[in-house]
Amino acid sequence: MIKEKVKQFIVENFALGTAPTSLGDDTSLVGTGIVDSTGVMELIGFLEQEFRISIDDADLVPENLDSINRMVAFLQSKGVADLATGTGE
C-alpha cells in the first residue's frame, strides 16, 4: 500500500509517460534525474500530507528518500503502517 501510493505519486508527477511497473524500486530518483531539487520539495510535501508525518531537516538525506524502497523503509521507521501487509513499527 505504501509502496503503491509512493510509486503512483512519482509516476504522476515526475516520470510522466512511465508505466508504474517500469519504475525500479531501487532506482535513484535524484541520481537519474527523475526528481530534481524542487521535485524533492514536492515529494516531502506529499509524504508529510499523505502519511501524516513530520519530516525533520536531518532526515532529508538520500538514505531516506532517494528511491521508492528507501522511502518505504523511512515511512515505516516513522510509524506508518503498511495496511496491505499489516507491517509497520
Binding site: 531539487s37 524542487t38 520539495m41 532529508l60
Partner: protein, 330 residues
C-alpha cells in the same frame, strides 16, 4: 597530476586572450560600437568592466548600476568606485519603483507573512539558504527561509515546493528587469550586453534565464571563481571588491553565495568542480585536497543534482527544424 595549482592562470596571457575575444566578437562579429555592463559591486562585473576597458577603452564601455531596496547598501557605492577607477561612464537607475509596480516585494511579503506570522516587512530582514556544508552531510537541496528581527533573533522555516517556486519566480524578476535595462542602453548605443557569469554559476545553474543569463557575450564563463579573483587582482580591481564576500545581493538579509547555493567555500568548490568536470580519479582528489572519498562523493552528487536540475537554463528554445510541406504528417 591533479593539484591545487591546476587552476592557476597566467593572468597577463589570459587577459590578452580575453581582450582579443571581446574585440573579435563585439567589433567583427556583432559589428557593434562597444559594450554595456551591469556593475553590481561584485567581483565578476568588476573583472568584466576592467577587461572591456582594456579591450575597447573606457569610452566604449557603459556601466549600468541598478540597485533596489533590498540590495546591500554598500553595493552601489562599490560599483561607482569601481567605475570611477577605470574611467567608465555610468548610468544609475533605482529599480525599486519598477519592482514595486510588479508587486515583487508585496507578493514575497505575503508568502513570508503566511509562513512566519511574526514577520514585519518594515523592519525584518529575510534570506533563503541551502543546508550548509555538503561535504559533511549529504542533505538534499531544500531551501530554508530565515526572517531576522532587528533584535538579532531569527526564525527559520523550510520552504515547500509551491512556496519556493512562487518566491523564486518573483525574485527572478529582479534579474530580468536588469536585463531589460541593459538592453535598452545597448540598443540605443548600438552596443552589446556583456555578461558576467562565471563557470561555477554556469555549470551549477546559479543564474536566471533571460535575467543575468540574458546577454550577448559571456567572456568569463570558462573561469572558476578563484580564477576570476586572480584576474581581478591582476587587472587592478578595487581592494574593497576583492575582499568582499560574493553574494546574490537579492535578499535584504546578508547571505553569501556559499550559504545561499553552493554549500561549500569557493576554494574547495572550484577544485572539486574542476575534478568533477574533468573526471579526475578520486584518489588524486583525496590526496590533493585532503578529503575523504565520502566527502568527494557528496560533492559530486550535489554537482550532478544541480547540473541536472538546471539543464534548461543552458538550452536554446526548442523548435521544429524541418519546414512544413504539403506532405507533412499531422
Amino acid at each position: 597530476m591533479f593539484s591545487k595549482d591546476v587552476l592557476r592562470l597566467d593572468p597577463e596571457a589570459e587577459t590578452n586572450r580575453l581582450c582579443r575575444f571581446l574585440q573579435d566578437r563585439v567589433l567583427a562579429h556583432y559589428k557593434r560600437k562597444g559594450v554595456v555592463v551591469g556593475i553590481s559591486g561584485g567581483i565578476d562585473s568588476a573583472v568584466i568592466t576592467a577587461l572591456n576597458v582594456r579591450a575597447f577603452g573606457a569610452e566604449r564601455v557603459l556601466g549600468v548600476i541598478m540597485p533596489e531596496k533590498e540590495s546591500n547598501p554598500i553595493s552601489a557605492p562599490l560599483a561607482r568606485q569601481l567605475a570611477a577607477k577605470f574611467g567608465v561612464p555610468v548610468v544609475e537607475t533605482d529599480l525599486t519603483p519598477v519592482l514595486d509596480a510588479l508587486r515583487v516585494y508585496s507578493h514575497k511579503d505575503l508568502i513570508i507573512g503566511r509562513l512566519v506570522p511574526s514577520y514585519d516587512p518594515a523592519s525584518d530582514k529575510t534570506k533563503i539558504a541551502l543546508p550548509a556544508n555538503v561535504l559533511d552531510r549529504a542533505a538534499f537541496n531544500v531551501f530554508t527561509l530565515t526572517v531576522q528581527k532587528p533584535d538579532g533573533t531569527s526564525r527559520s522555516v523550510r520552504l515547500g515546493a509551491d512556496d519556493f517556486r512562487e518566491i523564486e519566480s518573483v525574485q527572478n524578476m529582479k534579474q530580468r528587469v536588469r536585463m531589460m535595462q541593459l538592453y535598452h542602453h545597448a540598443e540605443r548605443l548600438h552596443r552589446v550586453v556583456c555578461g558576467t557569469t562565471n563557470k561555477n554559476e554556469s555549470d551549477q545553474g546559479f543564474y536566471v534565464k533571460y535575467g543575468d543569463g540574458g546577454v550577448d557575450i559571456e567572456p568569463i564563463v570558462h573561469l572558476y571563481k578563484s580564477q576570476v579573483f586572480e584576474l581581478g587582482r591582476y587587472l587592478g580591481v578595487t581592494t574593497e571588491i576583492l575582499n568582499r564576500m560574493p553574494s546574490p545581493d537579492t535578499w535584504s538579509g546578508c547571505v553569501g553565495d556559499e550559504e545561499f547555493y553552493f554549500r561549500m567555500p569557493f576554494d574547495v568548490l572550484d577544485m572539486l568542480l574542476y575534478a568533477w568536470n574533468n573526471r579526475i580519479p578520486k584518489n588524486e582528489v583525496e590526496a590533493a585536497l585532503d578529503l575523504t572519498e565520502q566527502q568527494i562523493d557528496r560533492a559530486f552528487a550535489d554537482f550532478e543534482a544541480k547540473s541536472k536540475a538546471t539543464w534548461h537554463l543552458r538550452t536554446l528554445p526548442d523548435s521544429i527544424a524541418e519546414p512544413s510541406t504539403a506532405g507533412t504528417e499531422a
